[in-house]
């Protein structure tokens, strides 16, 4: 009961607190790419862009890996291997994001700068995504860290929905002479809406992730095609500027960014839950 009231209250509170900025900028807030606290001119587009691109790239990296892990754990390995590995993956989900960020700055970003980015540029450099300055920190680095963080979530849900697919279906496939992969593929196809739900849930998590992204995305409010370049995300701008915001309009604008973030994650999560419910309920 309290929970119910709370979620509404959160939305209401943020709606109220952002009225100053909403009144001033209207819908232009979403489409303006100007963010200048000194001139008190605020537009959220760069943050929205950074959030969406980093999350979607993260999902693209994470989804195949997550499904692979789920299949690996639920269909391929023996139980004695499954237990410790799934435990390790659970831990991966439980590590505080600040530690991912910390590790990202000091270990992963240098590695990106010296190894991954040059390789990508020399092989795929003809694409606009893989050109530009290589700082180490930037969109791609943030995406990969996010991918590591959401893989446990997506793979856990994929495992759950795979478990919900009756064994008899797989046996039926084998009985028709299917190879192991073909049987697995059939199970995956059957579980697709649940897996999609897991993916959307992971996306929601990636969108809302704050600390790790803040530490590695580069924190520069710009919109560029290159994934090497630094960018900014909605959550990180709140994290960085909120505590030392200069005026009430600044705070109000940040809260409006929060409101957008809340709205997006709310919709994405509802979607994900409905998809997951629809699969596991029938099981």
């Amino acid at each position: 009961m309290i929970i119910l009231a709370m979620v509404f209250y959160i939305a209401l509170e943020m709606f109220n607190d952002s009225h100053e900025s909403r009144d001033k900028f209207g819908f232009g807030f979403i489409f303006s790419s100007e963010w200048n606290p000194v001139k008190e001119d605020f537009g959220a587009l760069p943050f929205i862009y950074g959030t969406i691109v980093s999350s979607i790239v993260a999902l693209l990296i994470s989804l195949p890996v997550s499904i692979g892990v789920a299949v690996f754990l639920s269909e391929i390995v023996h139980k004695s291997v499954r237990t410790p590995i799934s435990f390790l993956i659970e831990i991966l989900a439980a590590i505080p994001s600040i530690i991912y960020g910390f590790w990202g700055i000091f270990v992963f970003a240098p590695f990106m700068r010296t190894t991954v980015q040059p390789i990508l540029e020399s092989t795929l450099g003809f694409l606009p995504f893989f050109q530009g300055n290589m700082y180490g920190t930037g969109l791609l680095t943030a995406s990969i860290i996010l991918a590591i963080m959401i893989t446990p979530i997506i793979s856990a849900i994929t495992r759950d929905v795979l478990k919900a697919i009756p064994k008899s279906q797989r046996e039926a496939a084998y009985a028709l002479g299917a190879t192991k992969w073909e049987a697995i593929k059939m199970a995956l196809l059957n579980a697709r809406s649940g897996i999609l739900g897991g993916a959307v849930l992971g996306l929601g998590r990636a969108i809302g992730e704050t600390m790790a992204v803040t530490m590695v995305i580069g924190n520069k409010a710009q919109i560029v095609a290159s994934l090497f370049e630094p960018a900014y995300s909605m959550a990180s701008v709140i994290a960085n500027e909120f505590a030392e915001a200069s005026g009430s309009l600044h705070i109000s604008a940040l809260i409006e960014v929060g409101l957008i973030l809340f709205g997006v994650t709310f919709i994405i999560n509802s979607l994900a839950r409905l998809l997951i419910y629809s699969v596991t309920r029938n099981a």
């Binding site: 009961m1 309290i2 929970i3 119910l4 979620v7 959160i10 943020m14 109220n16 607190d17 890996v65 997550s66 499904i67 692979g68 892990v69 299949v71 690996f72 754990l73 391929i76 390995v77 590995i85 435990f87 390790l88 993956i89 659970e90 831990i91 991966l92 439980a94 590590i95 505080p96 600040i98 960020g101 910390f102 590790w103 700055i105 000091f106 190879t179 192991k180 992969w181 073909e182 697995i184 929601g204 998590r205 969108i207 809302g208 992730e209 704050t210 600390m211 530490m215 959550a235 994290a239 909120f242 505590a243 940040l254 809260i255 809340f262 994650t265 709310f266 999560n269 509802s270 839950r273």
Partner: protein, 290 residues
């Protein structure tokens, strides 16, 4: 004859078998790829953390840049206080709504609450921070441990609710019936029989939530705010371990980085131990003869 018909298309079969082994190996590879960062992070943190970890880390206050030594005693104590406040809010609400969802699962309202809990678990923690800011910081006119604890409490709720619900569902219906058949009222049955039977599971859930809350940084940035001095008044800004790690990590000083690694190690160690514990208890729960 029959053999021919099965192998009517040996080329196709060969291709299928090839695809099979390629895909299976890709899945195995995926498993390895996922574990590598974990092991890397784990060992790196341990290695960098342990070397900077010493007694003064736990007993001393942070020292200004340039001075050797110093610790995070205030941040550790701060984290403890914040988590306690969070627990006071999160545990009762979480357990109660878990009970409600599980014991009244047929009612429409219960499924709405369940759905909302799932949504709440997906709300970014920084949003919870803004909420706590709006509800507590603005009226109080200053950052405070109370606001930070409040935010952590809200973050704990979905985890605790979920685990409570699942653990209560593991309690067999027959126990509830046995108790009711003795003429025990429904709420007493839930409280004294169902809850005590599931208590070990619920406690691990609470531990899990606490471990998660202990590592949360984003909602504390503008609620508890951080503090480099001793502070135990809950209406004042307070330091917290993850906040301190954040501040130190983005600073340019070698010394502070080492301290931050030590803090990170403490956090990872906490997470690891709690998860191990949870694993242990829930395994007993699932294979045990309830």
């Amino acid at each position: 004859m029959s053999k021919d018909s099965i192998l009517k298309n040996p080329k196709n079969l060969k291709r299928r078998k090839l695809i099979n082994s390629v895909m299976i190996s890709l899945c195995v590879l995926a498993g390895l790829i996922t574990i590598i960062p974990l092991i890397y992070i784990f060992f790196y943190t341990t290695q960098s953390g342990i070397s900077s970890l010493n007694l003064s880390f736990f007993t001393q206050l942070p020292k200004p840049v340039g001075e050797e030594g110093g610790g995070m005693a205030n941040a550790i104590v701060g984290s403890l206080i914040l988590i306690s406040i969070g627990g006071l809010i999160g545990i009762p609400v979480g357990v109660l709504s878990g009970i409600y969802i599980s014991e009244y699962s047929k009612s429409f309202l219960a499924s709405v609450v369940k759905f909302t809990t799932d949504i709440l678990s997906g709300v970014p923690s920084i949003i919870i921070g803004i909420f706590a800011y709006g509800v507590i910081v603005i009226p109080m006119q200053r950052f405070s441990a109370l606001a930070g604890g409040f935010a952590l409490g809200i973050l704990m709720i979905p985890t605790i609710t979920k685990i409570t619900e699942e653990m209560l569902k593991l309690v067999p219906m027959s126990l509830r019936e046995a108790s009711l058949a003795l003429g025990v009222s429904r709420w007493k049955t839930t409280l004294k029989i169902v809850l005590t039977t599931a208590s070990s599971g619920i406690i691990t859930g609470i531990l899990l939530a606490i471990a998660r809350a202990a590592g949360e940084t984003a909602p504390l940035l503008f609620t508890a705010f951080g503090n480099s001095f001793w502070q135990t008044n809950i209406d004042q800004p307070m330091a917290a371990l993850p906040l301190q790690i954040f501040t130190y990590a983005i600073s340019p000083y070698e010394d502070w980085h080492r301290q931050a690694w030590a803090g990170a190690f403490v956090l990872i160690f906490l997470v690891f131990v709690v998860n191990l514990l949870v694993r242990f208890v829930t395994r007993n729960k699932f294979s045990g003869n309830l």
